[in-house]
Each structure stands twice: as structure tokens, then as C-alpha cells.
Symmetry: C2
Subunit: 423 residues, 2 copies
Amino acid sequence: MPLHGDISGGSRLDTWWDTYSVRAEHLRESEVRSLFAVVARPEVVSLAGGMPNIKDLPLEALAESTAQVMREHGTQALQYGAGRGWDPLREKICEVMALEQIDGDYENVVITTGSQQAVDLLSQIFINPGDVVLVEAPSYLGSLGIFANNLADIRHVAMDQDGLLPDALEAAIKQARSEGKAVKFVYTIPNFHNPAGVTQTMERRRAIVDLCERERVLIVEDNPYGLLGFDGQTRPALQSLNPDGVVYLGSFSKMFAPGYRVGWALAPHAVRDKLVLANESAVLSPSMMAQMTIHAYLRDFDWWGQVKQYRGMYKARRDAMLESLEEYMPSCSWTVPQGGFYTWVTLPKGLDAKEMLPRAVAGLVAYVSGTAFFADGQGRDHLRLSYCFPPPEEIREGVRRLARVVNREKALIDMFHSSDDEA
Amino acid sequence: MPLHGDISGGSRLDTWWDTYSVRAEHLRESEVRSLFAVVARPEVVSLAGGMPNIKDLPLEALAESTAQVMREHGTQALQYGAGRGWDPLREKICEVMALEQIDGDYENVVITTGSQQAVDLLSQIFINPGDVVLVEAPSYLGSLGIFANNLADIRHVAMDQDGLLPDALEAAIKQARSEGKAVKFVYTIPNFHNPAGVTQTMERRRAIVDLCERERVLIVEDNPYGLLGFDGQTRPALQSLNPDGVVYLGSFSKMFAPGYRVGWALAPHAVRDKLVLANESAVLSPSMMAQMTIHAYLRDFDWWGQVKQYRGMYKARRDAMLESLEEYMPSCSWTVPQGGFYTWVTLPKGLDAKEMLPRAVAGLVAYVSGTAFFADGQGRDHLRLSYCFPPPEEIREGVRRLARVVNREKALIDMFHSSDDEA
């Protein structure tokens, strides 16, 4: 199946157009990426991106800490390391995970180049073309892209305010198996879901873990936001309920900063072995400099105090967003996130988030259409709003602008329907 | 095809043993990795590893430079970046590549997490299971692992003292095509080959590029060692001879240091587009901190002086190795590298590098068996010796120890053959 240059801008000037792999056909510019250019314009309020607000990090102290790593351990930090990651950081990561009641052995931690890479490595070691991967409806677009590149049969499973629905999950497993399909894993984001903004209750967690254990389906638990709960609580990880049945993915991108690209997977021993081999194949070893600097951060800084500062800061932004939604967009509904970066908005009947986006951008506000979070074209009636990066006053202005667009669209549709009624 | 726990240490205690992908079966611990534990013993002289010697880097100045990046640009360095890489570094990379007569547009540079990752991304976008990838005989083991994971049909093409043989390459292309196979690319290391230690002449480069252009086969030019020529010269890249027919891979690991994991690909525009999408899928974006620090190194340091220092240091080590081989191992032959890290040794007839290795380690010296550099079991009559990491006196001691083992094996074989003659 040759590519007819659709990725290379519609031209056939690509010498190699007929040599790409089937996987290359599945590489698509994400809906978020195509927004980048727009969002960079300073006059646009972006409620689209997922960039954490790291402006308050203590740069001067971090500079000194980084310099110290280089000065005292430079020949180690500048050298190749082990494919599994640096042991002292693996140990520190176990201390972090203990906050979520995980009793992890550092030997089962694999350091990756961001937790995105852990999703990629997992996909490589589990997915054959056509295998089923179960994901929430909606799910994180970056992981959906990875699953698609790995030629998975991606199936969405319904959620409610308490997260993934066990009954729907069970039905999806049984449906896939009745078709003779292998179900390789269920990918879930239990805390402060991206994009849905909901969090699994304890009861729900137990039901999902029990079901998957009974049905023998691996759980991939992606948890970049777990420490950012606005109630100051951390919730037990699914991994803590069944260590042999869950691969847990963590990240420093949101609890510290994304710029080092350091994440990790905690996996059952045999899965861990394969992840290490896949990691070595992909990048030889994760950056020692990055690992040692993050280790120094966890050792020498009040990183827990920083997490608390983030919680307060993001909570204030969440409040600004929910208050403005309440005030300006009463025709919509939305989820009430207890942490993390996002709320998931349901548009009034008849509105189309994807079609509306250019008009929103013309109105100087950006969001991500719900369609970005589905592998199957669903989501036009939804959009994701993020409150992580812009300050509260900008969030309010952004929602005000969005409301103008939504209200105008709604008025047009109402008018159309009422003229229908008259006809 | 289920895995029977062979990777998980021969046990069937892996809950997920029957759920892995076909690709996971192709993940094997490399022969180099299984040496790591051995090589770590201080009493063993390792002529096995490919770690650059970075002990002479100016750590104090690098500490100050790193601190300055954090202090002055911390909120950018700690944030997500673009999947293609940071533009100022992409521009600097074009200046570096100009030394090899590459006239590159920074827009066609993709920053990767080490150049290893560039090989991985290229494999993803080109290789369907069963597609042919042509590699030198021998070839870099890390890339062989990647091609195997991507289920390529790996075929070795003969080389001589001047590198890859065009006639053999042409025959391999025609053979594969006569079998109805797609030849996706030829992967070559033109300078100071790992592990063969040879370098393509200009005539050879032209012949290879012309052949591939005529036959319409993409060239992947892997060039981590290009600046480390002992004659002080840089050679024109294959890319400079046909920019549309070559993907060029570069790395900072050998000309500076591996610890940041920063490499790059320079690719024809349409291939570049796909590499960026694959990179975003794999890691979202390469580390901004790493990119900005390397950019500062190229901007503020005498990096060219550092390259010259490396050349002199590695040349002295190469000399120590060749002199000791001459003195202690006259029964072997070897290539004479004009740069880089490795020489490729041919053992006396009847000796087996793979079987001899445990006895060499017992004799307190380590090397890599030639078999590691072939996808098809060849290479038992060869071994790779590296002179990059140990100082000259250790290299001499290592070769002396290795000679004892080789001479003993040879004496045994000679004795066996002479008793054959008597019988």
C-alpha cells in the first residue's frame, strides 16, 4: 500500500514515496500538533496545550545543583549508562511510588525517555498487527497514536464520572474474544484523566483490577498526574492492588518538569526484562545526565513542597475555569476535575467541536476537539479544555471568548431548527 | 508463537508469557550486554566496550555552562519542545556537517535520543516484516538488533579494506529482487567502521552512491566517528554525493559525550516529515535541556579543539594496540583503522572467537566475538578489539593476555592436527 505523498504535503516529489512501511501510513499529524502554530500567536488564549506551568521552579538553585552533578560526577553523567536506568534513581522512584501504596522493587523499574516512550516500548513487546488494545472513551491522544502506529485494533470502553466502567470493559473483552481476537492490555488513566478529567473511585479500581485478573488481561496504568490531586490526597495505584497484573507508568514531567524527558515503568519481572531489551534497542540507555540531575533534585530539594505548590496553583486555575464555565457557558456541561490539567466539555446538541475550531481560533481562543481523543471518529460533541498553562485571568478571558463562539453556533442551530418547525 | 520464558530466565513463572508480540521474541540480550558484568570487574582488561574516553573533558567549565543554561533559559530548557528538535541546535548541526561537505538545510534535521533512536525510527517507517535490509559483513550490533526487532530480512554484503563492495551490493540487490523482496535500504558506516575498522575510499563512495541511485535503493549512512580521523582529515559524506538518496545519521556521543543522548538524522524532506511524526510518537520531543546544553557547548567551547585532542588520544591508543598485536599475536591478522575505536581481528584457522571468550575472560581480558556483528551466525573466526577506553599500557597488557589465550588454543589445534597426520 504505497503512500501517495499525502504526508509530504500532497506532492509526489518524494523519491521514496513507494518504499515506506505500512506503519508509516499510520503516522498522522495529531490534532494538537496542527494547533501548535496557532497557539504560538500571543493574541490567542490557548486552552489546548498540556504544557505544565513551571515558571515558579527555583532556577537558581537548580542551576547550582546541575553544576554540582557535572563538577562532581561529570565523567559518569556524560557517559553511557545501563539500559534499565541508573539504580539510585530507580530506588528514589520507589520512594515516590510508595505514596500511592506501591511496594515496588527497584529492580522492576525501567527508566524511559519520558513515559510516552514506555507506552511505545510496551506496544512493541505486546502488540501484533490486529491485536486488540482497550482504551477509555476518550483516551490520551499520544497513546492512541502509538497504538495506531503499532497497528493495534483500538477499542474504546465507556466511562462515567468515576472512570472506566467495569461492565463495559467486561463486555469489550468478551466481544473481542468472541471474534477470535487477542486482547493485549487495557490502557487506563485512573487519576485526573486526560482528557476526561475524572478519577476512579476505590471501588471502581478494585472492580477493574478484579475483572482483569479474572479475565487475564494486563492493565497498563498511566499515571502522570497522580500527585496533583487538589484535595492533597494520593490514591492507591491499581498496581498496588495486583502487582503482577499491572504495568505502572510514571513521569517527572508534571510533578517536576518535562525538559529532561524522564519517565518510568514498573512492571512484573518478566515484562521488565523485555522492556529493558526494547529500551536498549531503541536508545541504548536513557540519559545519565538527566537521570543524575533528577536524582539530585529528589535528594536535595523540597520536591514534595514543590508538588504542593503545584497543587495549589493548578487548583486556582481549575477554579477559574469552572467558575467561568458556570458564568459564560451554561448551555454546556463539563466534568469537575479533582486534580490534573483538564476538563471535558459536552457541547449543546448539534454543535461540532472539530468544525467549530477554526471559528474559535478566529475568536482568539484554542481548544482540542474531542475527536483527537478517539481512534474512531467519535467526539465531535466534546472538547478538552486545559487550565494548566495560562494564568487564571487568561483562562477566564479564554472561556469568555469560547462562550461567544459557542453561543453564536447554538443560536444559529436554534434558528435553523425553529425555521424547520415553521416550515 | 508464544515465548516459553526463555528471556525470563528459563522459568514459566511469567504470567504474561503467552501474550507477547512476535517482535518481542526477537529481543535478545546482545553479546556485548552479557559481558557487562564481567567487564565491570576491575581485574579484567576490557577490549570489548565502545565507551568513549571522556576523562579529559573540562568539567568545571561545563558545569558553569550547564548552570548558565538553567539560570538564563530554565523555563524553556525544562519545558516540552518540538518533536523535530530545537532550531538553534539544528542550525549548529548543519555547521558540523559542513565539515563533511554536506550542504544541509536545518529544516531537514531531526534531533533524536542518540543516533541509535534514529535507526529505530527509520526502521519503523521503512520496514515491513520480511523486507530486506542490506548491511555490511560485519555490521554494528545495535543496528542489527533494531532491524531484527522490526522483523527485517537482514542480508550481509561483503567488504574489503576499502569498505562495502559495490559489486557484492549490486548482486545482493538483484538477488533480493529476484526473490520478489523489497530492498528498503542499505545501512553503511563509511568511516572507521564498527566493527571492521575500515574506511571507504572516495572512489568506493562514488560507486556505492551511483549504484544505489541507479537501483533506487535508499542509503542510511551512519557516521558517529567521522570527525575522529587520525590523519586530521574529514571525508565527504555519502550524503554530499546524493542528498536525495541518503539519510545521514550523526551523533554527539563520540565527538563530545554520550551522556545527553543527542543524535540526529538529516533526511530528504518527505522522509524527514515521517521521522518527525515517528519521533513525536516515540518520545513526544527530545530533551530541551540536553539540546540547549549541547548547543551552548558548540557555541561557547572550543569543541573543534576537543575533537583534535580526542584524535590524538585515540591515535596513541590505536598505536599501542597495533604495536602489541604485532608483537604478541603474529598468528592473527587485523585491520588498520585510520580513525574511530576498533580493529577487526582474524583468528588463526580453527579458532572460535565465541567459544574462546570464557577462556579469555578467565585470562582476564575481554573482547567481542565476531558473531555479535552478524545476523546469521557468521563471525566465529573474528573478534572485535576496541582501544577507545583503556589507556595504552592497559591495552598492551590486554593484548598480551589475549595472545596467551590465542596461542594456547592454536597450539592445541596444531597438536590435534599433527596427531591427525600421524594417525
